[in-house]
């Protein structure tokens, strides 16, 4: 009970619309342990990004809320760093400065200039971007931008790393590379990660538990699947692994048999 690190407690949100209140999320309950990698999967529009935005503090829940280390989330903060879907690097800053701005803000008072410089470079090395420190975002590829976005989030030393479909806009090969990088980083640092995805393989490959959301309105958690695959995981050997394919089938069954997306019909 008290091991719970991040808790979503009866979380619900209702948006006012011209046609009256719209209940997007209802009664979302989830307990996440420290170091866990959680993937939230569901059809587009089911409110999974809304869950993440509430944990990030960018949205306020109407009912219930998110509790991180026994403190309710009321506003955004660097201890819940977000990797946005479209990287959202600041285009007028170099790769280095995009990470440094976060480092300066979070560690400005605690670290010396040299330490902050080293920490910035260290995080860019983690994502293998140390070769492009002086490049601007429009001079690097989409995958590289997302790597820098991850480095910026990691550099805040967040308690929870929130990732909103971080690889959704990338091509399959680049996505695979970044997934491998993320697994490597997670293995090294043991971050607590909450990741939104609509990619079944990504969810099974990366996460400890897959949270499957029902289709909205009033979306909530349908099932939670424990992924008992050994770490470190290797995508090639897993491709033929019976357990892997079992988990994959479970998620697919949920998404396509139990929760058909009405809009995709």
């Amino acid at each position: 009970m008290n091991r719970t690190y991040l808790q979503l407690d009866h979380l619900g949100i209702t948006f006012p619309t011209p046609k009256g209140p719209f209940c997007a999320l209802q009664d979302v309950n989830l307990r996440i342990d420290k170091g866990e990698f959680i993937a939230i999967i569901g059809h587009s529009g089911c409110g999974k990004s809304t869950v993440l935005n509430i944990v990030a503090g960018l949205l306020r829940a109407t009912v219930g809320g998110a509790i991180l280390e026994n403190r309710e989330v009321t506003e955004p903060g660097p201890e819940r760093a977000v990797v946005f879907q479209n990287h959202s690097l600041l285009p007028w800053l170099t790769v280095y400065d995009n990470v440094r701005i976060a480092v300066d803000k979070v560690f400005g008072a605690r670290k010396t200039k040299q330490e902050r410089d080293a920490w910035t470079c260290h995080n860019l090395e983690l994502v293998h971007m140390e070769h492009a420190l002086d490049k601007r975002p429009n001079e690097i590829s989409g995958g590289m931008k997302q790597r820098v976005g991850i480095a910026r989030a990691l550099a805040m030393e967040p308690k929870v790393l929130l990732m909103d479909e971080p690889f959704g806009a990338l091509d399959a090969l680049t996505r695979a590379h970044l997934q491998d990088s993320l697994m490597e980083i997670h293995g090294k640092l043991g971050n607590t990660v909450l990741m939104i995805t609509h990619d079944v393989d990504e969810a099974v490959l990366l996460s400890d538990r897959i949270v499957m959301m029902t289709t909205g309105p009033a979306a909530t958690i349908g099932e939670v699947l424990d992924v008992g695959l050994e770490r470190p995981r290797d995508r090639l050997s897993l491709a033929a692994d019976a357990d892997y394919n079992h988990y994959r089938a479970e998620v697919l069954r949920f998404l396509h048999a139990r929760q058909r997306n009405p809009r995709a019909a």
Binding site: R80, W92, K105
Partner: protein, 331 residues
């Protein structure tokens, strides 16, 4: 695309489609004035279409312009010939009007002779009311630049404020919408009453001229900032001052530059009219003075110089804008 630069869209509540676009509002309009200045050079790099080739072949190709001549010679001809033709046609019409319709307008030849005279000593000083055309231009430029600088000083912060805060937008929106369409010259009497002097009144008129494009473009720039950048600022818990300094200002810089470029161009146009009314030294009054002396050749020379200075201002602003525009870098 061209109209909404100056449109009051940004003053309305909520984000408009135009304001949401990533490109600085009015890039189009700002760029419109530029081709005149740039046409000459980049045309070299333009893909040469067949029609152009055919047109230039019979007239333009010099005797050496056969297969043996280097390509660049041909390219230079293609680039310079069309504008030369245009100037030729205009000179022809001018000469015709002067010779056959309005003999009071001196022809191109007479004007050229006069221009040599005027430009031989542009910076002579023969008393407070008799100075060379160079001085006239410099006086006008100094008024434009002072009014423009003041407008930027007031307009940029005001635009940021309007862009950021809905209450401020609501408070100032109607006022700006009423005042913006007013010809800046209408403010001249108010300026004269306020400052009891001609020079500050002209600067005041340029200030009024320049401030609207700066305010509106800056405000549009703030509203066009992607929500993502602001979310980054929120996650980093940047304070208001840091958000302004590290996110708002750099993100809106291209818009601000567009507004400044527009306003400087309009300011240079308005100063001529303003000085015609205020008198004193300045290219506008020079034109009016020469008209009173029925010295039409001087007026035509002045028109040419006003145009050239306009191109110069435009080019300088374009350079500065390119320097500041992160969206044009790379790729």
């Amino acid at each position: 695309m061209t109209t909404h630069v100056l449109s009051p869209d940004v003053l309305n509540d909520g984000r408009t489609d135009s304001a949401r676009s990533q490109n600085p509002a009015g890039q189009g309009l700002a760029a419109q004035a530029a081709p005149a200045a740039r046409e000459g050079v980049p045309a070299v790099a333009e893909p040469q279409d067949g029609a152009r080739k055919r047109r230039s072949a019979p007239q333009g190709d010099p005797p050496a312009g056969n297969a043996a001549s280097p390509n660049w010679a041909e390219a230079i001809i293609r680039a310079t010939l069309p504008p030369l033709l245009t100037f030729g046609v205009v000179l022809g019409i001018w000469a015709f009007i002067s010779a056959a319709i309005v003999p009071d307008i001196p022809g191109p030849g007479a004007t050229f002779e006069h221009a040599k005279e005027v430009l031989a000593d542009p910076f002579y000083q023969a008393g407070p009311n008799d100075m060379g055309i160079g001085w006239q231009v410099l006086f006008s430029l100094s008024r434009v630049l002072s009014g423009f600088a003041l407008a930027a000083l007031v307009g940029i912060p005001l635009g940021l404020l309007i862009g950021m805060s809905q209450p401020v937008r609501r408070a100032l929106g109607p006022l700006i919408q009423i005042l913006r369409p007013v010809s800046p010259l209408a403010w001249l009497p108010i300026g004269l009453l306020l400052f009891k002097a001609v020079n500050p009144s002209a600067v005041f008129v340029i200030f009024i001229t320049s401030i609207w494009p700066i305010i509106l473009n800056t405000a549009a720039g703030v509203q066009a900032i992607p929500q993502d950048y602001l979310n980054v600022a929120k996650v980093l818990q940047l304070g208001r001052w840091d958000v302004t300094r590290k996110i708002l200002l750099p993100a809106t810089r291209p818009h601000i530059m567009t507004g400044m470029r527009l306003s400087l161009g309009i300011g240079w146009m308005v100063i001529v009219a303003a000085e015609m009314l205020t008198g004193g030294i300045g290219i506008g009054f020079y034109v009016w003075d020469e008209w009173n002396n029925l010295n039409v050749a001087s007026i035509i020379v002045a028109i040419g110089i006003i145009g050239l200075v306009g191109i110069l201002l435009e080019t300088v602003m374009d350079r500065i804008q390119r320097r500041f525009d992160y969206t044009r870098g790379g790729h």
